[in-house]
């Protein structure tokens, strides 16, 4: 079933790749602009979004609130450990994006934090002066290679995505995530699939716990919460694909100039 789904997604993705693949940053900026991403499955997406919201209200938010009761150092340690694990996906994507220097830095960070930092619980590398860690994934690598996002998609439980980013996520379970390979795919003595799913679930809870107030605030003040979340997701992906920290790089000023004659 998963294989079939992967084939369908890759085929759909192939249709979204146009002849401009691999072109310059300006085109990358335009392609990934949230206003250019079509909501082809809006009916399905809104239904899934409503389902996810209900699930969040029943399960994720209460668990995230309970998780926040844990002492701050414990939460920091869990967050560090999960970040450390994500290097296993980030490093191959650094390489896929041609950023060999960053791949080397991240490998160094992973080795130090896994050993000296006791399975990543302590972020020793940052204290040693390593640059700030930036996660990368296969969706970002596809985007950097010039693949357009395709249609916007809301996945059950997992939330906002695009055809490209969903395909990227599928690569994790098709051999692209060493953590998945040693825990779920291959029967090793040390890890089993429970370890993988617990780590993924905890990652989600950790993210939710950090954003309880922000989400509540956004929901309370949104007129169309679905549209707000979609916009924020697509803006975030655009920024990540461009590997940009500065807002000036990602903002299109003509957006603002058009109101000068208001």
């Amino acid at each position: 079933m998963i294989k079939k789904l992967a084939i369908i997604l890759i085929t759909t993705l192939a249709l979204t790749v146009n002849t401009y693949a691999g072109s310059d940053g300006e085109l990358l900026l335009k392609k990934n602009d949230p206003s250019n991403v079509k909501d082809c499955f809006e009916g399905f997406n809104r239904a899934t979004f409503a389902f996810n919201q209900a699930l969040d209200g029943i399960l994720f938010e209460p668990v995230a609130k309970a998780y926040r009761i844990l002492p701050s150092p414990v939460r920091t340690g869990v967050g560090n450990s999960l970040n450390n694990l994500s290097h296993l996906v980030t490093i191959p994507n650094n390489i896929l994006q041609g950023d060999f220097k960053q791949a080397g830095i991240n490998t160094g960070r992973f080795v130090i934090n896994t050993t000296v930092g006791i399975l990543g619980i302590f972020d020793v590398a940052t204290q040693m002066g390593f640059s700030e860690y930036v996660k990368e994934d296969y969706g970002q690598s596809l985007g950097t290679a010039g693949v357009g996002p395709g249609c916007y998609l809301v996945l059950p439980v997992l939330g906002p995505s695009t055809i490209r980013d969903t395909t990227g996520s599928m690569m994790n379970i098709l051999g692209g995530d060493p953590w998945y390979n040693v825990s779920v795919k291959n029967d090793t003595r040390y890890f089993n699939e429970k370890d993988y799913y617990v780590s993924r679930g905890t990652d989600g809870i950790n993210f939710r716990a950090k954003n309880i107030e922000s989400f509540d605030n956004l929901e309370e003040n949104a007129i169309d919460f679905y549209a707000s979340v979609k916009s924020l997701y697509l803006q975030d992906r655009k920024q990540k694909i461009l590997n940009s920290k500065g807002v000036v790089d990602t903002m299109n000023d003509s957006d603002w100039e058009e109101i000068e004659d208001k």
């Binding site: 949230p34 206003s35 926040r68 701050s72 950090k210 954003n211 309880i212 107030e213 922000s214 605030n217 309370e220 003040n221 949104a222 007129i223 169309d224 679905y226 549209a227 707000s228 979609k230 916009s231 924020l232 803006q235 975030d236 920024q239 940009s244 920290k245 500065g246 807002v247 000036v248 990602t250 903002m251 000023d253 957006d255 603002w256 100039e257 109101i259 208001k262």
Partner: protein, 196 residues
């Protein structure tokens, strides 16, 4: 010689006059933040806080500009009367939304870090909202409209790279498109929000 000296002094006077009146965007942001922080940390009722926050927004935010930006391409289809009506409806909505978003915070600590001038109209001021035990530090960039350097105005907040104005623009567009281009539906939604 005396004439030259008078001209020179006059020019220096004009420059100093300009320096006194124009407000640097980063100082403007810091003073706005301090003003809001004073309001939020003072011993006041929620209603009093909200009223003060609304006044801060009226003084420092280009509400009309943000309103038209949020309307995007649909702005061009409005008559001048409808534009006036929209400006009023949006102002009420914005002030309610802005004040209720902020009123929940107690004494937020925001440190202004740097500024980057994009062009004569805009400067981006970078700041950081200090971490608490519940959430990590948050990077906030402010898009300051500096066309009139004597009265800079906030046009956007960009939180961790995500633009609030942009998000609102896409939200409004979604509502209008969902109503087959009928802008009145947005007006109704904004009015309903303001009544909450």
């Amino acid at each position: 010689m005396i004439k030259k000296l008078i001209v020179f002094n006059f020019i220096v006077f004009l420059i100093s006059l300009n320096a006194v009146h124009s407000i640097e965007p980063d100082i403007f942001v810091q003073s706005t933040v301090n003003r809001a922080s004073d309001t939020l940390s003072a011993d006041k009722t929620k209603e009093e806080r909200i009223e003060e926050l609304k006044q801060i927004a009226l003084d420092t935010v280009d509400i009309k500009g943000i309103g038209f930006y949020s309307l995007g391409k649909h702005r061009k289809n409005l008559t001048s009367d409808k534009k006036k009506e929209y400006s009023k409806v949006f102002k009420d909505y914005f002030l309610n939304s802005f004040s209720s978003r902020l009123a929940e915070y107690s004494n937020p600590v925001i440190e202004v870090n740097s500024k980057e001038k994009i062009n004569d109209n805009y400067t981006i001021v970078s700041s950081t909202l200090a971490a608490t035990d519940k959430r990590p530090a948050i990077k906030i960039d402010w898009r300051i409209y500096t066309k009139n350097p004597d009265k800079p105005l906030i046009r956007d907040l960009i939180i961790e790279g995500l633009s609030l104005a942009r998000t609102q623009k896409e939200e409004f567009n979604s509502i209008i498109q969902g109503a087959d281009g009928d802008v009145e539906v947005l007006f109704v939604s904004l009015r309903n929000f303001s009544k909450k």
